[in-house]
């Protein structure tokens, strides 16, 4: 799931509250930093009970889009494999939790399946960063995140 809410912060600067899969974070943080955008983390791997959230509601597992697969059947089957792995990993994480392992260990195991909440604040305007939404050199999911942000900004400006 990728979600964005745009608001106007101090000095009338546009601020985004974003939710996206944690596995995108390293890549997005790098691109954001090189475009003067600072990220403030609302949740993080150690200090947030990802395991309880996912165990109680498996639909909250982050699942990538498999639309690049040649047909719908394959895409659905790939999603099932992903969900099955999520359940296995949640079981392993549960096992670690029962043994008394710390959140930093348990939550790291769940990185591929968790989401992160981030507030993004611009330093040099959003145009340069959002222009990358059409660049084929940028990973597909990052492009998707940038598209969601771009549409969100367009709605906010209307």
């Amino acid at each position: 799931m990728i979600d964005a809410i745009a608001t106007f912060g101090p000095n009338n600067r546009l601020v985004f509250d974003l939710r996206y899969p944690t596995y995108l974070h390293g890549n997005f943080a790098f691109i954001a930093a090189s475009h003067g955008v600072s990220l403030e983390y609302r949740t993080k791997a150690d200090g947030h009970d990802t395991l309880t959230i996912l165990r109680e509601d498996i639909s909250k597992v982050a699942v990538p889009s498999f639309s690049s697969l040649p047909d719908q059947d394959r895409a659905s089957a790939a999603q099932n494999i992903w969900q099955e792995l999520a359940k296995c990993t949640i079981d392993f994480a549960d096992g670690l939790r029962l043994l008394g392992a710390g959140d930093d260990i348990v939550n790291r195991m769940l990185i591929p399946f968790s989401h992160i909440d981030v507030r993004a604040t611009e330093g040099m305007g959003w145009d340069a960063l959002l222009a990358l939404r059409d660049s084929l050199n940028v990973a597909g999911e990052i492009r998707e995140l940038l598209r969601v942000m771009f549409d969100c900004r367009a709605r906010r400006m209307m």
């Binding site: 899969p21 944690t22 596995y23 974070h25 390293g26 890549n27 943080a29 790098f30 954001a32 930093a33 090189s34 475009h35 990220l39 983390y41 993080k44 791997a45 150690d46 200090g47 990538p64 498999f66 690049s68 697969l69 040649p70 394959r74 089957a77 790939a78 494999i81 992903w82 099955e84 792995l85 296995c88 990993t89 392993f92 994480a93 096992g95 670690l96 939790r97 043994l99 008394g100 392992a101 710390g102 959140d103 930093d104 260990i105 790291r108 195991m109 769940l110 990185i111 591929p112 040099m124 145009d127 340069a128 960063l129 222009a131 990358l132 059409d134 660049s135 050199n137 990973a139 597909g140």
Partner: protein, 353 residues
């Protein structure tokens, strides 16, 4: 496995040290950004969490390039994990209130009374089983024809990442990350970096000389043969080629070619540079300028009068001659800042200025 190697270390005549590291560390700390300092009070177990920015990816003083999930073949990652060379936490801490684990699982305490397996071995075994389970599912997705970018995601907790990092300002980086309350894996990385940097003696670069990561004697010799114009050695042309090859290798975070797995040749590196900087010729294409942040030449200290032509009241002070070319470095002019259009992507179609 955590490793940190200084691959280029320079000092200018003005005394500013510029260091480039090649790092390898568990990918799970790559996107993390904060450490947590906990102050406990009272008998009720209350605590305050203080957070500080200590990530690698959002420290503005650091120039970085990392190996991408899209570039590493899944089969290579699977082989690494299956051979037991998977990423693990630096410390196996027990759960407790607050963010830092005060107590670790012990190798001397049995996981259950009467069992031979220790609690530490047991926890490590669960992590390893989880890694193998991820491998099986990744293999299934791969066999289905899913792109390595997607498949590699599920292996992230168990894989390592290679990163090249360059900076002049390291004090705050080390101050925060060497602290005992920093994340143990991040701290282990910082310790490895600190130790390797302490061992190194930086090379003096005079005015006009360049800090060029991944350019060794072999590469210089290869490029030397290409640097003749009309039978005469052209030093500027030679430097330009060296910078380009260095940029390509920093983008790849390696001497090795993606395609062959062997040391890249300049015939492979120069086209990669052209691809990254296609925007210099075609203004509609974006520049991929970040790998050009690792190459720099020393700036000079001058009096304010020499730079501005005006006498200031800051008697005895100095200013940098070309501080507008420093970027996120101090006292060094960054190659990126010498490239036209490096900080501004072109507007997409339909958006006239």
């Amino acid at each position: 496995m955590i490793s940190a190697e200084v691959i280029c270390d320079s000092i200018s005549e003005a005394g500013k040290r510029l260091t480039t590291f090649k790092l390898r560390y568990p990918k799970f700390i790559h996107g993390e950004s904060k450490t947590h300092r906990v102050i406990s009070w009272g008998n009720e177990g209350g605590y305050i969490v203080m957070e500080q920015e200590v990530g690698l990816m959002d420290d503005k003083h650091l120039s970085r390039n990392a190996s991408s999930s899209r570039a590493v073949p899944t089969r290579k990652l699977l082989a690494e994990i299956r051979s037991g060379n998977f990423a693990v936490p630096e410390r196996w801490g027990k759960d407790q209130k607050g963010m830092q684990a005060a107590e670790d699982f012990s190798p001397d305490v049995p996981c259950q009374p009467g069992k031979e397996v220790s609690e530490l071995e047991f926890v490590q075994k669960v992590w390893a089983m989880s890694a193998m389970s991820a491998c099986e599912h990744a293999q299934a997705l791969l066999d289905f024809g899913a792109h390595k970018q997607l498949v590699n995601r599920i292996l992230e907790p168990y894989t390592h990442i290679n990163v090249v990092v360059t900076a002049t300002e390291w004090d705050n980086f080390f101050g925060l990350r060497l602290h005992k309350d920093a994340d143990p894996t991040m701290r282990a990385l910082a310790v490895a970096m600190w130790e390797d940097r302490q061992k190194c003696k930086p090379q003096l670069r005079k005015d006009g000389e360049w800090h060029l990561p991944f350019i060794d004697k072999d590469t210089e010799e290869q490029l030397f043969r290409r640097s003749f114009k009309n039978g005469v050695f052209d030093r500027d042309w030679h430097l330009d080629l060296c910078r380009k090859v260095s940029v390509a290798r920093c983008a790849r975070v390696s001497y090795e070619s993606f395609e062959t797995g062997k040391r890249s040749t300049v015939e492979e590196d120069l086209p990669l540079y052209d691809k990254l900087f296609a925007g210099l010729q075609d203004t509609s294409a974006p520049l991929h300028a970040s790998p050009a942040e690792h190459q720099a030449r020393p700036d000079q200290k001058v009096t304010p009068f020499a730079r501005t032509g005006r006498i200031t009241d800051k008697n005895g002070d100095f200013v940098w001659l070309q501080h507008e070319l420093h970027g996120n470095l101090v006292g060094w002019c960054q190659y990126r800042k010498m490239l036209p259009g490096e900080a501004c992507a072109p507007l997409p179609e339909g958006f006239a200025p």
